[in-house]
Subunit: 214 residues, 2 copies
């Protein structure tokens, strides 16, 4: 397809597509003559991914370039490739290791992973931004006097594991490996806001069931 | 307790507490003489809540004042009081009602609520920011060519309903009604980042189980 059709099918303006091409976020088309290039479904897919990261996820162009670098690195295995792509997304800063709540949260997070039997996640604790986010969130809750017990955290984690199974089952329905990697990155940006919206709707539903609208 | 002790126990500096007092985010202490006021556990709790909203949630002072106005409005029933407090939190903007994906997402969200039997949530669709967020998220996914089926959305929603049951069960362990309302607001700000961290950790765990680290 030509640039005009690519623009129409992706919903991205030709000026923006040219900008993405210049920035290397979308690979060049096949040049058919000096003034015209031909694009295919792979360009369309990539354009949707870039648009999701920039327009929906609000990521800066440099971050998008980092994420795509990992998405396209075929030398990596799938877990690492996907992990590297997701880890290039903006993350919470390193927590203060001297803080007593942070130290306690590390112990609590480690114990949680042990209870859950998440042995793979345990291998990644020194490098995983998700683990770091968990420590930061648990420390914040504890500092504010949220004195829930360890079983509650286990219950939330088991629900999130079931969500991860749904995520990966969906990713596996994609036909090619590049599509699977892209679906996983899109999911990380778009599925979380959807789950958060469902979570808040569910809270409204459950609250009304328990207490009515009085 | 005096201001110094309130500061020590809350981890909030005396200068910041004085600022919150001036802004009306924390109620004044009981004046024991011209220069000294006495504070109690209610002040401590309120200070933690304000700190969570401002320092962890990143909310502006005006928003915090709105949320607290609803938290403190004893004329409202619990569902509405809690809803009003949560709805005062920053929300996604109104989606473009003319957009074809937004219109389709409305139909899809309505059908989802019907399938789930969330009759209370259905009553709130015209006013609930959570419903609006769901429409925005579903429209974004569809626009990007995420062609999942309706059952997948139902599966995520059922998981989020179980999370909401955990949330409310925890809130009900708090002893007084003000503590329960505050725990619900804190939860909305702090539990979601924790669930998101667990979700990403679960993805890493599940991905490694399926594909190893190769």
């Amino acid at each position: 397809m030509r640039l005009a059709e690519l623009s129409e099918r992706s919903g991205v303006s030709t000026a923006t597509i040219k900008y993405y091409l210049r920035e290397g976020l979308v690979p060049p088309g096949r040049q058919v003559n000096a003034r015209t290039a031909e694009y295919d479904d792979e360009h369309l897919r990539r354009l949707r991914l870039v648009r999701a990261m920039i327009q929906v996820g609000g990521l800066p162009v440099a971050t998008v370039r980092d994420v795509l670098g990992h998405v396209d690195d075929e030398s990596l295995g799938r877990t690492i490739r996907l992990g590297a792509a997701l880890w290039a997304l903006p993350q919470v800063p390193e927590p203060d290791a001297e803080d007593e709540y942070v130290r306690a949260a590390h112990l609590e997070a480690d114990e949680l992973l042990g209870t859950l039997g998440w042995s793979n996640a345990r291998l990644l604790t020194t490098i995983s931004p998700a683990y770091r986010s968990l420590v930061v969130a648990v420390a914040a809750l504890r500092r504010l006097g949220y004195d829930w017990n360890a079983e509650l955290l286990v219950s939330y984690a088991r629900l999130m594991h079931r969500a991860a199974v749904l995520d990966l089952d969906f990713v596996e329905t994609r036909e090619s490996e590049p599509e699977r990697i892209e679906a996983a990155v899109l999911g990380a940006i778009l599925v979380e806001p959807m789950m958060q919206a469902l979570h808040r709707l569910a809270q409204e539903e459950e609250s009304a069931r328990r207490y009515g609208f009085e």
